[in-house]
Amino acid sequence: MDQRKARPAHPAPIRIMHWMGVYAMGCMIFSGWEIYNASPNLPFMFPAWTGLGGWLGGALAWHLSAMWLLFADGIAYLIYGFASGHFRRDLKPPRPSEVAHDLDAALCFRLKHRMGHYNAVQRVLYAGVIAAIILQVMTGLAIWKPVQFGWLTGLFGGYPIARGIHLTTMFGIVAFVLVHVTLVAIHPRTLKSMIVTVPTETEETP
C-alpha cells in the first residue's frame, strides 16, 4: 500500500515525453496550417499569423523536421506505456455504462478528479488522441511517400483521400487539445502534476 501511495501521479518519463510531444505536435500543427494555406482545397484558410515557417518551403522544413521528434517521442511513449504497465493500469478500456455515467457527471460538473487516476471519459479521450496521432503519422507517411509507400496510400483510398484524412485527423487532435487545456484550466493542480512529482491520490473506497 505504501508503495502505491509513493507512486507519482505522472512518472518523470511521462512528464518529459508529454512536453516533448507538446512541442513536436505544436510544430506539426502550425507548420501544417501553413502548408494547407499554400493550396486550400476547402473553402477556408488558417489565419496567416498562426503559421510556422513563413512560406511553404519554410513550413515544409519545419514539418519534415518536427516529424522525427514526434515519431521518436511517440515510439518511446508506446514502448514505455506497454512496458511500464501504464496503458494496462491507466488506460483500460472502460465499459460503455462507465463512460455514460462519467460523461453525465462531467457535463454536470460533478465528476471528481483524483490525481493519478483516470475516469472513463479521460480514458476514452486519452486513448482516442493516441490513436489519432498514430493515424496522423500513418496518413502523413502515405502522403509524403505515395509511390514508395504506395500500399499504405492505397489502404487510405489513394493520395487525395489520405490527404483529406490527414487534415480531418488534425482537427480531431486540435479538438482534443481544446478540451484538455480547458479541463486543465478548471483543475490547475493537474498542470503542476505534469511538471513536478505529485503523489497519486489514494482511492476513497478500497
Partner: protein, 252 residues
C-alpha cells in the same frame, strides 16, 4: 505561339506568384507569428541563422532517408485514360499569360560527364524509343492531378549520349529561366521520361514545349518544362526552387 498576349491588364491574381516570391526570403524571415513565437521560445529571435542551419541539416538528413527509401524498380501507380484530370491545371513559377514561345532553332544541349555532346534536334529525339504513361502529378502545395505524357525514357537517352551512370546528379536547364536537378537513381527509374507529348499531342508551350521532364516519383516541381540543356555532373547543381529552400530530393 502565345495566344494570351493581348490581355488588357494585369490583375493581382496574375502576378501573385511574383508577389509571393518577393515575400519568401529564407525560412524564417517572416517568422513573427504565433507559431514561431510558441516554437522558438528560448531561441535567439534576432538572428535566425542557428535555427535555419538546423532545419537545413535535417532536410539533408531527410534527403538521405528518401534516397534510402527509393527503389528504382518500384513504379508509380498508373491510371486508365478515364481518370485523366480535365481541365489540367497550369503551373509554373509565373502566371500562364507569361508563357513564352519555343525559341527559334531549338536544340537540346548536352554537357558534363557524357561521351557524346552533340546537341539534339526534335526530330532526332522523336526517332528514339518512346514510352507513354498516365500518372499522378503531385504538387508540393498538396494538390494533385492525373495526366498523360509520352516521350523518351531518360535512362535510354542517358545511355545513348554515353553518360556516366555512376555520376550523382542530372541537371536540367530550361528556356524560361527555370532549372532543377535529380539524383541518378531516380533518373534511371523506367517511368522518368523526356516527354514530347501531352494527352497524345505534341507539347504546347504551357505544357513545356518542345521537351519536358516527366518524373512521377518526384514532386511536380521536379518535372521541369521547356528543357534546353541537360548536364550530368557530380557537383550539386541545385535548382530554381531548391535554391530558395525546397527540399532537394522531393521524392514521393
Amino acid at each position: 505561339m502565345s495566344t494570351q498576349c493581348n490581355k488588357p491588364a494585369v490583375s493581382v491574381a496574375e502576378i501573385r506568384p511574383e508577389l509571393d516570391r518577393l515575400r519568401r526570403r529564407g525560412f524564417l524571415r517572416n517568422m513573427l507569428s504565433l507559431g514561431s513565437l510558441a516554437m522558438l521560445t528560448g531561441c535567439d529571435l534576432s538572428t535566425h541563422s542557428g535555427v535555419d542551419a538546423a532545419l537545413e541539416a535535417i532536410l539533408r538528413f531527410d534527403d538521405k532517408v528518401q534516397a534510402a527509401l527509393f527503389n528504382r524498380h518500384r513504379l508509380a501507380e498508373t491510371y486508365p485514360a478515364s481518370a485523366i484530370t480535365h481541365p489540367f491545371r497550369f503551373n509554373a513559377y509565373y502566371a500562364e499569360w507569361q508563357v513564352r514561345p519555343v525559341p527559334d532553332n531549338w536544340v537540346l544541349n548536352v554537357s558534363g560527364l557524357v561521351t557524346d555532346r552533340r546537341p539534339w534536334t526534335l526530330s532526332a529525339l522523336m526517332a528514339l524509343p518512346q514510352q507513354g504513361q498516365i500518372t499522378r502529378h503531385i504538387c508540393i502545395e498538396g494538390w494533385s492531378q492525373i495526366g498523360q505524357w509520352s516521350g523518351v525514357p531518360l535512362g535510354v537517352f542517358l545511355r545513348r549520349i554515353g553518360a556516366d551512370l555512376s555520376a550523382r546528379y542530372v541537371y536540367f536547364k530550361c528556356s524560361d529561366g527555370y532549372s532543377t536537378s535529380i539524383d541518378m537513381a531516380s533518373a534511371l527509374q523506367p517511368q522518368t521520361v523526356l516527354a514530347l507529348d501531352f494527352e497524345g499531342k505534341p507539347l504546347a508551350p504551357q505544357w513545356g514545349a518542345p521537351l519536358r521532364l516527366r518524373i512521377p516519383t518526384k514532386l511536380g516541381f521536379k518535372s521541369a518544362k521547356n528543357l534546353e540543356a541537360i548536364e550530368v555532373t557530380n557537383k550539386y547543381p541545385g535548382g530554381y526552387w531548391e535554391d530558395q529552400g525546397y527540399d532537394w530530393y522531393a521524392g514521393v
